[in-house]
């Protein structure tokens, strides 16, 4: 087992530990949301999705932006590790996005009466998911590793610069065609218990992101180390 393979395994181990810590934290958030925060007067239980969805959405978007930044660095420095990181971050972001888009409607139906709404957050999550999907569709269509890294990087950078336009589009769409109000995603003055849970949730999702990316990066790096060993 060469040195690269060893450090890759280390990354996987550490990442797994951090991810497990994050999952414990997530269970904690659920508990806090259920037991220790007051139920919002007008929206009832439905409002509690507030503790899970915005933080998950932020993690998904951050995953994409970080993949974009790593892609810029790859294009400038041609270091393969940036590509491995970008792919890892994108995959984690895709996973968060998939969870968002499936739990959202499943939670929404019994409470809001509709499977889907075109509110800003859900719409944005959908389009971001499509961007991730396109990134991976391209990666799977290119066989040669250096070419794949280059092309994926180009797509990620383009996508990163598209994100502000998507935000703008989604915002304008909602202001020119107002949707029926479902969940207040805004920031009313939050009582301390709600705020605490909300912030804790952001911390938990960041931890999850870091842990999962480290794991995925480690897996990617190990794969490369093995291919190099095979080729020699």
């Amino acid at each position: 087992m060469n040195r690269d393979s060893q450090s890759a395994r280390g990354s996987i181990r550490k990442g797994r530990a951090i991810m497990l810590a994050g999952l414990v934290g997530l269970a904690g958030i659920y508990l806090m949301a259920w037991q220790f925060t007051p139920t919002e007067r007008f929206q009832g239980l439905a409002q509690k999705i507030f503790y899970i969805h915005p933080p998950a959405a932020y993690a998904s978007e951050m995953a994409y932006v970080l993949a974009g930044i790593a892609s810029v660095l790859y294009l400038l420095l041609k270091d393969e590790r940036f590509d491995t990181f970008a792919a890892a971050s994108a995959e984690v972001g895709l996973a968060f996005g998939a969870v968002l888009l499936t739990t959202g409607p499943i939670w929404a139906k019994p409470i809001w009466g509709a499977w889907w709404t075109w509110d800003a957050r859900l719409t944005f999550s959908l389009i971001l998911f499509l961007l991730f999907a396109g990134y991976f569709a391209l990666r799977s269509a290119v066989r040669e590793p250096a070419e794949r890294a280059r092309y994926a990087a180009v797509v990620a950078v383009m996508g990163m610069l598209l994100v502000p336009f998507i935000h703008l589009t989604v915002y304008l769409f909602n202001t020119t065609h107002p949707q029926p109000v479902v969940v207040q995603t805004g920031k009313p003055a939050l009582p301390p218990e709600m705020l605490r849970t909300f912030l804790a949730s952001f911390a938990v999702f960041t931890t999850l992101y870091v842990g999962m990316v480290m794991m995925r990066y480690g897996i990617g790096a190990r794969q490369i180390a093995e291919e190099v060993a095979d080729a020699e």
Partner: protein, 237 residues
Amino acid sequence: MSEAVASLLLVRGVARTFGRLHALRGVDLAVAAGEVVLLLGPNGAGKSTLLRVVAGLARPTKGSVRVAGRDVHAEPSSRSALGLLSHQSFLYDDLTARENLRFAAALHGLNGVDSLVEDAIEAMGLARFADRPVAGFSRGTQQRLAIARATLHQPSLLLLDEPFTGLDAHSAGELRSRIAAERAAGRAVVCVTHEPGEAWLPATRVVALAGGRVVLDQPRPDSLEEFRVAYGRAVAA
């Protein structure tokens, strides 16, 4: 460094990887005007890759390529000093011979396009085909047009990538004469081939690659047969 001044082509420490495959592992090569270099090697030795890197079609992972003193990747205008003839013709089937040449002339920013193109058509015996679409051309005729295209801008360095592939004896002979003519005109030629006999006569030097490295670099010996023995040994090592 006098070598740098005299060299038309200077390849220094060029390495190139494709994924996990090391196609080139540190190649050094200097070619001066008037030389005709045969670039030999078994399949997968990296000959075509080296030519692509020299032509600016692929970036080296390490090292540099300078043509007439200028870096071929950093300075696009340096590519006006080189021409490439491949087994692919770079021609458009739907355009006529004349239109293909005019396009190449515009790409290279040449002046006096009309007379240049007409001269090239005359010189390569393409007058009959000048206004016919390339789609209908025989391999030999396509090759002649491809040569015209590659030399239209009068490059000082002509790169040939397995140019004899699929050529009949007559066309092959024409190509050999062309190579000799380039040498006589004081230009340099680097010819990649897997069969040294094809371009033995006009060659002045032989370089062999194996496993991405230069394993042989000497003036062209007189005896092809003796050379084959030495070459076999060098490549097997």
